[in-house]
Amino acid sequence: MPTAMNTKMATIMGMTIMLELDFMRSAFMAAAAVALIAGPVGYFLVLRGQTFAGHALAHVGFTGATGAVLLGLPPLAGLMALTVVAGLGMGLFGARLANRDIAIGMVLALSLGFGLLFLHYFKSSATQASALLFGNILAITAQTLSVLVVISALCLALLLAISRPLLLASLQPDLAEAKGVSLAGLSTLFMVVVALATAATSQIVGVLLVFALMVGPGATALRLSTSVMAGLFVAAGLALVEAWAGLALAYFTDWPVSFWITALAVAFYATSAVLARRPGHG
C-alpha cells in the first residue's frame, strides 16, 4: 500500500522536523516537567474533594501575574507569589470556613476582577492577556523552562514525602488526627504544593485551563486504578500523554495547544467514566 507507506513516512519526517525546532523541544520539556507534577497533585485534589480550590488558585494567579506586570516584575513571579499566599490561606482557614465553596468562589471572582483592572491600567496587549488566560507554551523561554523544572521537582519531592499521611488524612481525617497527624499543618503544606503546581501548569495551558491538565488526569486515574501508587503513576502518565499529544496535534493542525490538551483531558475522563460504569470492571 504505497499511499499508507507515504503517509507514515511523511508523519515520521514531520515528527523529526518538529523535534528539531528549538521552541518545540523546549515546549515538550516544559510540558513533561509540568505534567509529572500536575497529574499527582490532581489525584489528591480529587481524592480530597478540593478541585474547586485548585481551580480558584489558578485564577488568583492571573491577578498575581497582571499585578507583577504592572509593577514591572516578571509575571511568573507574581503568579507564584499570589497562588502560594492564597494556598496558605486556604490551608490555614479552609477547615473553619463553613461555606467554603462560596468563599473560594468570591475570592476567585474578586481576583479576576482585579486582574482585569490591572490589565486596564497597564494597557497591555490582548496577546499578553490571552497568553496568561489560555497559555502560550510555544513561546516558553529557556529561563522559564528551568524555573518550571525546579518548581516541579520541588513540588514532586514534597508531595511524595507527605503522600502517605496525606492519603490517610484524606480518607479518614479522624483516624489521622488520632494517630498524631496535624490535619491543619498537612492541609497547608498540601495547598502550598497545589499553589506551586498550579502556577507551573498555568504556564502550559493558561490560568483558565489548569483544571483540565491537573484535575482531568487525576480524576481519570482515580477511576481507573485500584491502588494509590498505581493511581499516582497513571495520573502523571496521563498528564504527560495529554500534554505531549496536545503539542504534537497542535503542530500538525495549527490549532492551539491548550485546545488539544483540554480536548484530550476531557476525552480521557469521559472514556474512564464509561469504562467505570461497565458492570464487572476491575
Partner: protein, 276 residues
C-alpha cells in the same frame, strides 16, 4: 488490670463543658457500652482517651500514663465519616492506608505490613470484601473494613465510635456478635459507643451512660433505671422491659429513636465537612 482510669475528669470543647467530674475505670475484661443521646459527649470522651481532647479537670490515665495521640496499643474506629470520592480504590488499600499512615513517605507497603493487614482482615472475615472497590461496598461492609483497620496493630484497647450507625437491624446484630467474638478471642477490652441500647444487650459487661454533662457506670440493670436516666436526661424517664428488650421513654417519646433521627441529619453535614 486497669486500662483506662478517670478520676473526676472534666472535658470541655471550645470553652463549653461537655462532661464534668466523671470517674470510672475500665479493666482488661470489660466490654463497655457507651450510651447517651446525640451530643451527650460519647465521641468527646473517646477522643479524650485518644489524647485528642485535653482534660480540663481531674486525672485521666491510659495504660497508667496520660493520654497521647498515636498510641499503638489503642485501636480506634472513628464515627463513620469517611470521604469516598468516585474511585476504584480497593478495600485492602483502604485498610493498608491507615496502618502507620502517619509516617512520612510514600504509601508503599512491605511484606510485614501486608501480612498484618491480611491477618486483620481475616479476623473480621473481610478478605473477599477487601478485593472489591470501596465504592461498591455497603455501609455494613465498610464498617467491617474500618473494624479490621482498628485491629491491625494488635491493640490492647478497642475504641469503637458508633459502629451501628446507619445499619439495618440484621447488620447491627452481626457487628455486635463480631465485636463480642473479637473481645473474647483476643482478650481485648472494648468501649463501644451507640445511642441504641438494645442491640448491645447480651454483649456488654457494663454500660457507661452519658447525659447533661454527667455519667453513670455499672451493670445494665443498675444504670438503665428510671431514677438514673431521669437525672441524665434531666427529664422524667420511664424504663419499660418487653421480653429481652428495654425501652427508654420520656412521656410518649422513645428517646433513643429520637436521637437516631438527629444523627441522620448530622451525617449529611459530616460528608461535606472534611475537605480541608
Amino acid at each position: 488490670m486497669t486500662v483506662v482510669a478517670m478520676d473526676r475528669v472534666s472535658l470541655a470543647l471550645a470553652g463549653r463543658t461537655i462532661l464534668a467530674s466523671v470517674s470510672l475505670s475500665i479493666g482488661t475484661g470489660d466490654f463497655i457500652g457507651l450510651l447517651g443521646a446525640n451530643g451527650a459527649g460519647k465521641t468527646t470522651l473517646l477522643r479524650a482517651i485518644l489524647g485528642m481532647v485535653p482534660v480540663t479537670g481531674g486525672s485521666l490515665t491510659v495504660f497508667g500514663q496520660p493520654p497521647r495521640r498515636g498510641h499503638a496499643a489503642i485501636g480506634y474506629m472513628p464515627q463513620g465519616r469517611a470521604n469516598l470520592p468516585e474511585t476504584r480504590l480497593k478495600g485492602w488499600d483502604y485498610v493498608a492506608a491507615t496502618v502507620q499512615g502517619q509516617r512520612i513517605g510514600l504509601p508503599l507497603y512491605g511484606a510485614a505490613l501486608r501480612k498484618k493487614v491480611d491477618a486483620a482482615l481475616g479476623l473480621v472475615e473481610a478478605q473477599a470484601l477487601a478485593r472489591r472497590p470501596l465504592a461498591e461496598l455497603s455501609g455494613g461492609e465498610r464498617q467491617r473494613l474500618l473494624l479490621a483497620q482498628a485491629l491491625v496493630d494488635e491493640p490492647k484497647l478497642l475504641l469503637l465510635d458508633e459502629p451501628l450507625l446507619n445499619l439495618d437491624p440484621g447488620q447491627q446484630r452481626r457487628v455486635v456478635a463480631l465485636v463480642k467474638h473479637l473481645h473474647e478471642e483476643l482478650r481485648v477490652p472494648v468501649v463501644f459507643s451507640s445511642h441504641e441500647l438494645n442491640p448491645l444487650l447480651g454483649a456488654i459487661s457494663r454500660v457507661l451512660y452519658l447525659g447533661h454533662g454527667e455519667a453513670a457506670i455499672g451493670a445494665v440493670d443498675d444504670v438503665i433505671t428510671g431514677p438514673v436516666l431521669s437525672r441524665l436526661y434531666n427529664a422524667p424517664i420511664e424504663v419499660h422491659r418487653v421480653g429481652t428488650r428495654i425501652f427508654v421513654m420520656s412521656g410518649n417519646v422513645e428517646v433513643e429513636r429520637d436521637a437516631h433521627r438527629h444523627e441522620h441529619e448530622d451525617g449529611h453535614h459530616h460528608g461535606h465537612d472534611h475537605h480541608a
